[in-house]
Amino acid sequence: MRTLLILLKNECLKFSRTNQIRAKQKQAMLGYLLCLLAAALYVFFVCKISAAFSVSNNAETILLSLLVPSAFTCLVFDLAAGILWGGGLAAFDAQMEAQLALPVHLSVFLISKIFVVYVTCTILNGMLLFPAAVLYGAINGCGMLYYILLIADVLVLPIVPCLLGTLAGAQLFRMLKKLSVLTARCRLIIPALLLPVFIAYMFLGFSVSSDTSNISNKLSLQEFLQTADLFLTKASIYRSFSRCVSSLLHNDMITTAAYWLTVPAAGMLILYLLTRFCRRQRNICSIHMNNSCITARRLNPGTSKKSRRNRPLYAFTQRSLKSALAARERRRYFSIPVYFTNTALGLLSASIFVIASVTADEKIRPYIRLAAAYFHIPPSMTDLLYIYAVTILTAMSCTTYACISIEGKQMDLLRSFPIKPEDFFYAKLRLHLSLSLPVTAILNTVLAVSLHFSWPKMLLGYIMPSVFSLLTGITGYFFNIRFPNFEWDHVTQIVKQSIPAIASMLCGAFSSCGLICLLLHGLSDMLLPCSYFVCAAVGTTACIMKKHLCLENII
């Protein structure tokens, strides 16, 4: 137990990066500001939820429309965190080898590693569930026992999904390492597709039987939530999950006992399986060299058996400096799964959204109409919501926030090259735009053709996601210049947990969602011309930022 506590302390120290932050006042200040912003957003969220549901004053409505969806979201989030984060920790931890040399049982190591994932999930679950549960308890007049059981339930909730996700994620990463050339490429896309596919399932999996034509043109938030709830409650998985949550909250003895017995037992079993998996994984590490040779062949399809025989060993062709840097960026981007999955999520979501809009318009259109009714948008302008959705999702994709930090300890070597700061900057931005511009262009063309956009709308569909993507790219670079981290041990530290990652994500979300919300709320009568004006403003801002960034001397 003492060893576990020491390891937990070590992991927490590593995750929080307290020592590093202490040395960097600027980063610490921004960190505090981000925390304050997150706290303010949370308070805003709680106030909105309370305002929306205290009106109804009905415990059942709160249970079915708020608590159950929140619990379901928590469960999915925990599972995703387990797969993407826990799985990565179990499968790729570079320090595992050194730690295994210590006289500590493997399961203790695994617990200490997954503990950070568990704590994060528990905090987020608590933040999401407590406001709803307190509202429910207050209306029902529940006593202290209810709140104690609630806290215990929330503490136990992430155990199984986190462990299960970690086991699945570790297995998935191991299997994907072994597959053929094509699947070696696909392995980058699969984890990134998980969340968008889930979102698509949430949209399309639920049959919408209600007559959506009855939705009035003007809708309050309360009505909006109720209508959305109507769509959700049609799903069978959701219905059974809803029954479980209800029984648990009503302190049903059998469900509570089953929950409290099943979770620890399942947790122990999964931990045992995970330990076995990791031990086996470590035992086959000796074939690393062979595997990497295979991987090299996968990454270089040109070196297949036949072509190897025909090609000389050194098939060098000269490229210009700019294209060499761009090729290097591209190669790295598609070789680091964590980098790819975290930065391509928005574009993948946008693609899925467009595919869903085109192939199952009857299921997507009700949501669009709901939103149009909520924001009081004239029917002729409803199509703009598709463009806004693509813009917001595109703005969520940013490759530049980690582009400088990702050079890591190689930065000194790179600085010794005859590269100008502008070349360095353009190579990074080129990668970002080479991903977002073609994707948005294709998506908008598909949308425009299938939904019969007018020319001005179609043009807006090309311009709006592009300028927002440009702004996101430049903002990401700006944050990474200000807060570079070259001392990372694993790429997840800069891709997922760095200040530039959080700051650029918030900036992307605020700039796109914020400006679009302003448009929808205040200028819904002149939506199209105002959208063009916003594009011009964003484009100008991006150009001004770029001009200043080129003067920054990172190289």
Partner: protein, 245 residues
């Protein structure tokens, strides 16, 4: 070729290098020796323009590294003490990338890489991912990359660490070959035997200042470099005395 004048560099309150001046002529091999923290790596990085300097000037063939870093860097190559290369590339891809950066023509790069990879016994490994390389192999690849574009000035930080004895000898030979073409080499090392044997000029650093800089032959006389090094670091007065002599 390389002229360093009154170089000063501080990290906060700590002065890493103070008023350091030295010159490297064409064809010279200069060795930097000194204790840990003496300012060797800082000096090397300053010469490359990797870090900004507080005062002083550094010229490569008369061109200031402060005024025109890109032009100077084009004629230099650097191998750090612990080369962190692009692990997602294969050896071939990495060398190709370096040659692109230094604008080496297809024919030249093919010739030089074939020659160097054969010399360093890396031919078979170049098609593998760098992530599968051992430390020594990464070091060899970094060296091949540095030699591949025939730089005017090659700067190496602890180049012999992690190399096998054969590669050790090959590196020495390659350094001499490069200098025979009119280029120069500047390197830091703790292996005094090697410095003694291959360097034409030596700079001994102590607390960021040059205790001695000049011909290796003049410095050593009848003493060995290790003996001089120990004297330098044991007693300041004795050192001053011995160099005056």
């Amino acid at each position: 070729m390389l002229e360093v004048k009154n170089l000063t560099k501080s990290y906060g309150a700590k002065k890493a290098v103070q008023n350091l001046s030295f010159t490297i002529q064409d064809g010279d091999i200069m060795g930097f020796v000194g204790r840990n923290g003496a300012g060797k790596t800082t000096t090397l990085k300053s010469c490359l323009g990797i870090i900004t300097i507080d005062s002083g000037e550094i010229y490569l063939d008369g061109v200031s590294i402060r005024q025109n870093p890109a032009a100077c860097k084009k004629h230099m190559a650097y191998v750090p003490d612990n080369p962190q290369l692009d692990e997602y590339m294969t050896g071939t891809q990495y060398l190709n990338f370096i040659c692109d950066i230094y604008e080496v023509s297809s024919q030249n790069r093919m010739q030089s890489i074939q020659r160097l990879s054969h010399a360093f016994r890396m031919e078979e490994h170049l098609k593998h991912l760098i992530s599968s390389y051992s430390h020594g192999m990464k070091q060899k690849l970094a060296l091949i990359a540095a030699f591949s574009h025939t730089p005017r000035l090659l700067i190496l930080d602890e180049p012999f660490v992690g190399l096998d004895p054969e590669a050790f000898l090959i590196l020495k030979k390659q350094m001499q070959l490069l200098c025979a073409q009119g280029s120069s080499v500047l390197f830091s090392s703790h292996i005094l035997d090697v410095v003694e044997k291959i360097c034409s000029t030596i700079t001994i650093l102590k607390n960021g200042s040059a205790v001695y800089t000049g011909s290796a032959h003049n410095l050593m006389g009848e003493k060995g470099l290790d003996e001089i090094f120990m004297e330098v670091n044991e007693d300041d007065e004795n050192t001053a005395y011995s160099f005056e002599k």
